[in-house]
């Protein structure tokens, strides 16, 4: 269940359109390391996690990613509204324009459409959290790359905000991984998948008190 708030997590007020920049930033909407992939990754991975607190981290970060998705869409929208036909042709925006006019559609900077293959749900808590930590780093590096392209402070401020959230989320996923490790046997973290394999006493008593 979700509840919509009619405001952005961080304000986006862009005065100058810039179609070229919009084409780069749209990657964080529907690209390989974008916010659509981020939100769907965490919100899809939650179900198989056998630890409530860890599923809670995935839920809360996944929810925040939806707010980031809306921020990135707002940046793209404001960078492309009120464009003249001349600007569209000059800035190389014609290819996007012909299919979507100035609507916001999830694609990578290179035009590749959003695809669920941008993320994984392995159903193994260690594997999924490692992917999440890597995903935060990839998104952080993408925002670094965007920041090198941005001169307009109206665009820079929300991008800097979004970039820092990746660092904070990395820390939280790292701590969530520690919570998983704390529940496993440190002599062999890989002995079984706590989201799938049963313990021996489960055979006699289905409610034996183990996490599975």
């Amino acid at each position: 269940m979700w509840s919509y708030e009619k405001r952005l997590q961080f304000p986006v007020n862009i005065k100058e359109p810039n179609a070229k920049l919009a084409q780069a930033i749209i990657s964080q909407y529907g690209g390989p390391d974008g916010e659509m992939g981020a939100s769907m990754r965490y919100l899809s991975q939650r179900y198989s996690i056998p630890y409530r607190e860890v599923a809670g981290v995935l839920t809360d970060i996944g929810t925040e990613e939806l707010a980031h998705l809306e921020m990135v869409a707002s940046i793209v929208h404001q960078l492309t509204r009120n464009l003249s036909m001349e600007e569209i042709e000059k800035s190389g925006f014609a290819n996007y324009y012909v299919d979507h006019t100035v609507g916001v559609w999830p694609q990578a900077a290179g035009g590749v459409p959003f695809n669920a293959c941008e993320f994984q749900v392995k159903g193994d808590p260690i594997t999924d959290l490692m992917e999440d930590m890597a995903a935060e780093q990839k998104a952080r590096a993408t925002y670094d790359n965007i920041l090198r392209l941005v001169k307009d402070p109206d665009v820079c401020e929300p991008i800097k905000f979004l970039r820092m959230r990746e660092v904070v989320h990395f820390q939280r996923f790292g701590e969530a991984l520690r919570m998983v490790q704390d529940r496993l046997d440190s002599r062999n973290f890989y002995a079984f998948n706590p989201a799938f394999d049963k313990c021996e006493s489960c055979d006699d008593k289905p409610d034996c008190g183990c996490d599975k």
């Binding site: 961080f10 490692m130 930590m133 925002y143 670094d144 920041l147 090198r148 401020e157 800097k160 905000f161 979004l162 970039r163 820092m164 959230r165 660092v167 904070v168 990395f170 820390q171 996923f173 790292g174 701590e175 991984l177 520690r178 919570m179 490790q181 704390d182 529940r183 440190s186 002599r187 973290f189």
Partner: protein, 55 residues
């Protein structure tokens, strides 16, 4: 959940695994507006992009 391993015994951590140290909450930024613009209210997590080496 049992006690978290102490991060100062890093040598004792089993190999073939990755560990992020636990954040220890000290304080929030006094200027919350500053934290909002930075993207975190925790000073210890505020690690901005500079785009330059040796800054």
């Amino acid at each position: 959940m049992h006690e978290h391993w102490r991060d100062d015994n890093f040598e004792d951590f089993p190999i073939a695994m990755a560990y992020v140290p636990w954040q220890k909450f000290e304080r929030l930024y006094d200027d919350l507006e500053k934290g909002y613009c930075a993207g975190t209210v925790f000073p210890e997590l505020d690690k901005p992009f500079t785009g330059r080496r040796c800054v």
